[in-house]
Amino acid sequence: MRNNDLINAEDSRSDIERQIAHRNKKNKRFKGVVIGATIISTLPLLFILFYIFRQGISAINWHFLTNLPKPVGEAGGGVANALVGSILILLVSCIIAIPIGIVIGIYLSEESKSKLAYYCRLAVDVLQGIPSIVIGIIIYEWIVRPVGGFSAFSGSLALALMMLPSIVKSTEETLKLLPESLKEASLALGVPYYKTMMKIIVPTGLGGILTGVILSIARVIGETAPLLFTAFGSPFMTTDIFKPMSSLPLIIFNYATSPYEDWHQLAWGASMLLILMILILNIISKIVQRKWKVQF
């Protein structure tokens, strides 16, 4: 039996042509399988998105975005406080997580072989694997209980902890890819080390670092479990980060687990809002990646 995939030295021209046609057909079949598998695995995702949009679109309007939740039985009501809460909580998380994450990332890329870097990397990996509900409980035990009350700030701390690993990782990976000659160029001009890092290395890697930051925001924006133990939720509009505060995932959780049909509707609306925000964050990260790409 001869193998149809192999061309032998003594094959005639027509043999070779036949074999090449056979291979081309095989390639096409393989490509078809790959495309088919991709479509099949993407379909459920598209279906989920479609379903949420269909359910949510009717709930979303100006009233929904600018009004507070109404008590049971009253029609209408919105998610204004949850929207403001989500943004505020995330803002504070960013203020906490971004500087710390970038500094750790710089350290890991600079001293990548040191003992401390080894343990630090290990800690970051473990932190990345800790379930969000556990982080919620830890913050509850360490902050909420001692302080004696739920607060948006404690929620921000929990989310910041969750953002930290991906900011650290993306900073480290981005900076490691920068050529050594860049740092040398700056140092050779008599620029001190810290200025070289802050004015040359970090700005050159900014695109990659920001992409990591944005994706980490997209990752925690829908986190519910840690907020249940910390920010807790509130029916009022509040901007005091040391008080309990509402947020989109919390409102989804509360509305969706209620027995009332019109509240379910609001939960769908909030879900869609959340997904829209995640979509926008992802698009922004793509733009940042492309626009701020540094060419050497």
């Binding site: 860049l182 140092l187 050779a188 001009l189 008599g190 070289t196």
Partner: protein, 252 residues
């Protein structure tokens, strides 16, 4: 009267265990141009990187022996101050990718936080680029990114960047190896011109260039200085067999 601006005594450099520079002794006089020559891998780059202490940035890289700049021990100086006095152009061009051509030239001022008026900046940029023979090509695109230039243009940009800081000593690591003959001869003219103010060490594989622009030549072989003398003497009457072979092109 000539006075040695750089005195190197029993100087050694290592990468971890491997001994790269062996017992180097050299006196560099003020306002001289030195050509550093020798076969690939003999330690030319390592030597000039030791002078502005870039060598020690490589993990496990160490040195021993003495090196004095104007009588001050280089390895006891603050490296930041040392590097402002000793400018360097690297073997591979390395402009700052986030900066425009204009900002690249005055990067040393920007990064060190030295305040300049717009007029001073314009002046420094123009003279430095003119000296580096790049001005005519980039005068209308000064605000484009430096990395959009060709390799040879980038190299001249790096030369301009080093010149803008007015160092006492300039280290050029094969600065013209990527340049066309016209820009090469412009850089050589520049070196001639700069001799009045600066002391220059240039690594080069181009013997005609060494003969044209340098006063003195040091010939490196396997990490040692085999011969260091007036360029004329080295080229017309080399004492050492290895130097003769190299100059006649007998090296592999």
């Amino acid at each position: 009267m000539e006075s040695a601006i750089l005195k190197v005594r029993n100087f050694n450099a290592f990468f971890g265990e491997s001994h790269i520079l062996k017992n180097i002794n050299l006196d560099i006089d003020k306002n001289n141009v030195w050509a550093i020559m020798g076969p690939s891998g003999c330690g030319k780059t390592t030597f000039i990187r030791c002078i502005n202490r870039m060598h020690e940035l490589t993990p496990n890289a160490t040195t021993s022996g003495s090196m004095q700049l104007n009588g001050e021990e280089v390895y006891e100086m603050n490296p930041v101050l040392l590097r402002r006095k000793v400018g360097m152009v690297f073997q591979r061009p390395n402009p700052f990718p986030t900066m425009s051509i204009y900002d690249n030239v005055i990067a040393g001022y920007i990064l060190n936080g030295i305040k300049l008026s717009k007029q001073q900046k314009d002046e420094i940029v123009e003279t430095s680029l003119k000296r580096a023979a790049l001005w005519m090509e980039v005068r209308s695109t000064l605000h484009k990114k430096g990395t959009f230039l060709s390799g040879g243009q980038q190299q001249r940009l790096c030369i301009a960047r080093a010149l803008s800081m007015n160092p006492e000593m300039l280290l050029l690591d094969e600065a013209t190896s990527a340049l066309d003959p016209v820009s090469t001869s412009k850089i050589e003219e520049l070196i001639h011109e700069l001799k009045a103010e600066y002391t220059i060490l240039m690594v080069t594989h181009n013997m005609q260039q060494a003969a044209r622009v340098s006063d003195k030549t040091a010939f490196f072989y396997l990490g040692e200085i085999i011969e260091a003398d007036n360029t004329k003497t080295i080229f017309t009457n080399p004492k050492h067999e290895k130097t003769q072979d190299y100059i006649r092109g007998h090296f592999g």
